[in-house]
């Protein structure tokens, strides 16, 4: 299988955005290709690191009150 072709779809693969057939082909390729695996592994870790950076902002109580007041003014029961 063509390594370059797989690398071209690396992020699409990690995002699960390919057809089931392509997902399986790449998955199979990664089991045996030492050249490709580290790149996929690195990018997978990279994407997980971005996901972990999520800031858990909680809408402040004051904002909730302001939203409710606005909605009541707009006619919400």
């Amino acid at each position: 299988m063509d390594c370059e072709e797989n690398i071209r779809q690396l992020w699409d693969y990690l995002d699960g955005e390919l057809t089931e057939q392509r997902m399986n082909e790449i998955r199979g390729h990664l089991k045996s290709c030492r050249g490709c695996f580290p790149h996929f592994d690195f990018e997978k870790e990279f994407l997980e690191a971005i996901a972990k950076s999520r800031v858990e902002h909680i809408a402040p109580e004051d904002l909730r009150r302001k939203v409710m007041a606005k909605l009541r003014t707009a006619g919400m029961a």
């Binding site: 690398i7 858990e56 809408a59």
Partner: protein, 207 residues
């Protein structure tokens, strides 16, 4: 409601309260990621909910309310930042080139000590900083897909652009982020020099 009679206003309001209001933390977080400012995010959330309430009859019951609110939030934000949002060169639809370039740039790390970077370093502050510095169009694509877990299709619906545009913005954003992280890692002493390639065949199942 099992019968076919139209919803009363009271029922509509109750449904809004039940389905739309619980997403306020998510909308607030999304607003903060776009504005970087507490007061601006505050205004943006209020305006989003006001518009959502007024347009509630257009919301299709059973569809994704969170995504619907994100779409409104994004549109309100764009209206206030129209100029900035349109000035950025989004680089065209060159997602594949971005992928290839990112892989090439990360290669010294990927083939030597990837685990060391991600397991030994606390990258969260560096990622947050790099995200803040990303031009808005790239940042929003990365936030929607990588942080909020939306698919390309869902992000395209929120942003009102074709999937190809989401993909190219996302990949370009990722590449810029990755470059910042690599610089950060180098500054912290990770040379990323070619080392002994680990035998990871057995781990491949995890991908």
């Amino acid at each position: 409601v099992a019968d076919d009679r139209p919803e009363t206003k009271l029922e509509q309001d109750a449904r809004f309260e039940r389905e739309a209001l619980p997403w306020m933390d998510d909308v607030y977080r999304f607003a903060r990621s776009m504005t970087h400012d507490e007061a601006d995010a505050d205004d943006l959330v209020q305006e989003t909910y006001l518009r959502a309430y007024r347009a509630w009859h257009t919301f299709e019951p059973g569809s994704d309310c969170r995504r619907w609110l994100f779409t409104i939030c994004r549109n309100v934000f764009l209206r206030t930042r129209e100029r900035e949002a349109r000035q950025v060169d989004t680089g065209g639809d060159d997602a594949v080139l971005e992928t290839m370039a990112a892989v090439r740039e990360a290669s010294p790390f990927a083939t030597s000590n990837a685990e060391a970077i991600f397991s030994r370093m606390d990258l969260v502050p560096a990622i947050r900083k790099a995200l803040e510095e990303l031009p808005e169009v790239f940042r929003t694509a990365v936030v929607l897909v990588d942080v909020e877990g939306q698919s390309y299709d869902e992000a395209a619906a929120v942003l009102g652009v074709p999937i190809g545009t989401v993909r190219s913005r996302l990949f370009r954003g990722r590449r810029i982020l990755q470059r910042s992280l690599i610089e950060f890692a180098r500054d912290a002493g990770f040379a990323g020099a070619a080392g002994k390639e680990a035998d990871r065949e057995g781990d491949a199942h995890g991908l």
